[in-house]
Amino acid sequence: MTSYHSPKKNYSEILHETVNKNYKKRMIVNKLVTVLSIVCVIAAIIPLGSILLEVVKNGASAISLEFLTQPQGSIGSGRGGVGPAIQGTIIVVGLASLIATPVGVLAAIYLSEFAKGGKFADLVRFFNDVLTGLPSIVIGIVGYVIIVLSIGSFSVFAGAISLSIIMIPIVVRVTEETLKIVPYSLREAGHSLGISKAKITLSIVLPSAKHGILTGIVLAISRIAGETAPLIMTILGTSLFFTGITGPVDALPLRIWRLASQPYESAHAFGWGSALVLILMILAMSIGLRLLARRSSFKGAV
């Protein structure tokens, strides 16, 4: 019968049919991909939810005044606390940020304000990237070989230097990226007033980029505050309070690791408690630094 129809209509019918069939298939594939990607998002959120839940649930019951201020009691007794670890984390991380922040920001100023596209700057950026990608345990080796072996003792100093090596490249990169966004007209305004380059950079460019730089610093500090591996090789970890910059000290991540490998329930509870304290400290640090930036007198232009 179909042979009596005009071929034109026939073709268009066939065409219509195929397109329609194809269209359905394509729509199904499209829906499938959408659903699949939503499933993946949910799959990634479940661990986060579980981690936060477990840390808060198990950690909250461990925290008390004794836990926050006292050194650890005898192993397995469930007495005492992680006071030295809290103190040690503040000291080591604080010292590392005191080294890394000025070095990182100044190096970024060199890259963005002075060197720009030169070969040397490219080299610095390349090595900076290399430094960013290094596993933290390798950086621990630096602290050990250079400082621990020459002082002859595991020390706060070695830990702080190692952590600062992890922190510097992060600060450099974020600061440089932020300085690049500061509009060039601001610098030109400074030049037209005859202000020196140092002054332009320090009192015009840096304040404008303040928020971005601060975000970078906060990011970097929270990264090093959670580092464990380099501390194994540099500060060792003790159950005593700070004794001096050339002596060993404890830190929260290190303490969590040691506690988790002990076979006692009470030690595990302490581990969860330390984890909660660590997260809260990082949170407090990041909120605190942001508030500080907001309150300081100079409001950024960007």
Binding site: N30, C40, P47, E54, L111, G133, I165, W257
Partner: protein, 330 residues
């Protein structure tokens, strides 16, 4: 009048001199800081070489291919081979699970979800990236490993252990497989946020062209977005790989920590050891200088491995982000 202009010239000359001196000091400071960062790179290279020189002069390149590990004095034997395999296998599992999921998340956030959902979601993934790995480790050791054991390994064991030697061991939940999954969880936020950044570079005109031809959303992603940023996506995955290969503490807590020839994995469910986890485990108990040197040499191998991965990855990602103005297509 003349004295006045003289004065002002004198003052301005003072001013210029001072600013010039200030500039010089400032330039010295910034160049000093830059050199300091280079010095740190030098220190890394120096200390890793210096630390591992003993073992390489004792064992030679054989160190990389041997699998015995014995720190007892007089019978010392050190070989890195099992841990290289352990590192590669656990990272491979992490990549196999992590990369597709990260890509799907990046697609969802940048191409599918409206900003109302996408923005908080990207915030959540950033949050996940900020969780210290020690806390992932704690969670993996006390919570997640039981999920893996009860939901995946036990059923597989019950179903296959009679027939396939692959499933011969009673599952613990502490093995290369668990380490791989937790590593995947750890690198997903990293990879997906870089993928998102890379995909943002694709100009909307590319997408609009695909849509105007009647492409569905998936077809747009597949035919207009992916080809444009392929190398950037590969780079993102490799940056994640760099993290997985170098991750220490998390792996140490869940991989089972065996040493010697037994650490060469017979299946993905066997206990293992990675380069980094062995260093973390034994560093404080190193019994001799040679033992210590062997551990540092493991770090040296790790350094070379991650450096290679990262350098290639950065080149791939950078190349993409540089053409962001979007005049070029492949």
């Amino acid at each position: 009048m003349t004295s006045n202009s003289k004065n002002s010239r004198y003052i301005s000359s003072l001013f210029i001199k001072r600013t010039k001196r200030g500039d010089k000091v400032f330039y010295g400071l910034v160049i000093g800081a830059t050199l300091y960062t280079l010095l740190m790179v030098g220190l890394v290279a120096f200390s890793v070489t210096r630390g591992s020189i003993d073992i390489f002069s004792a064992e030679g390149i054989q160190f990389v291919f041997q699998s015995n590990w014995n720190a007892v004095e007089g019978r010392e034997a050190f070989g890195a081979f099992p841990y290289i395999i352990g590192t590669l296998l656990s990272s491979a599992i992490a990549m196999a699970i992590g990369v597709p999921i990260s890509l799907a998340i990046a697609i969802f956030i940048s191409e599918i979800a409206p900003p109302r959902i996408g923005t908080p979601l990207s915030f959540i993934t950033e949050l996940l990236a900020a969780v210290p790995s020690i806390i992932y480790g704690l969670w993996a050791l006390f919570v997640f490993r039981f999920w893996v054991r009860d939901l995946i390994e036990k059923p597989l064991y019950d179903a296959f252990h009679g027939y396939i030697p692959f499933f011969a061991k009673t599952p613990f939940g502490l093995d290369i497989f668990t380490a791989g999954i937790v590593l995947a969880i750890m690198i997903i936020p990293i990879i997906s946020s870089i993928c998102r950044e890379v995909m943002r570079v694709v100009p909307d005109s590319q997408r609009e062209a695909a849509y105007s031809l009647g492409a569905t959303r998936w077809e747009t992603v597949r035919m207009a977005v992916f080809p444009y940023v392929k190398s950037g996506l590969v780079g993102a995955a490799m940056l994640g790989l760099g993290r997985a290969v170098g991750e220490t503490i998390l792996v140490t807590m869940v991989i089972g920590n065996v040493i010697g020839p037994g650490a060469i994995p017979t299946s993905i469910f066997s206990q293992g050891q990675t380069l980094a986890s062995l260093v973390a485990n034994e560093f404080n108990e190193a019994s001799s200088d040679l033992h210590l040197s062997a551990l540092i040499a493991l770090g040296a191998i790790l350094l070379v491995l991650t450096m290679g991965i990262n350098v290639v990855a950065r080149i791939l990602v950078k190349k993409k982000i540089k053409v962001s103005s979007g005049a070029k297509s492949q």
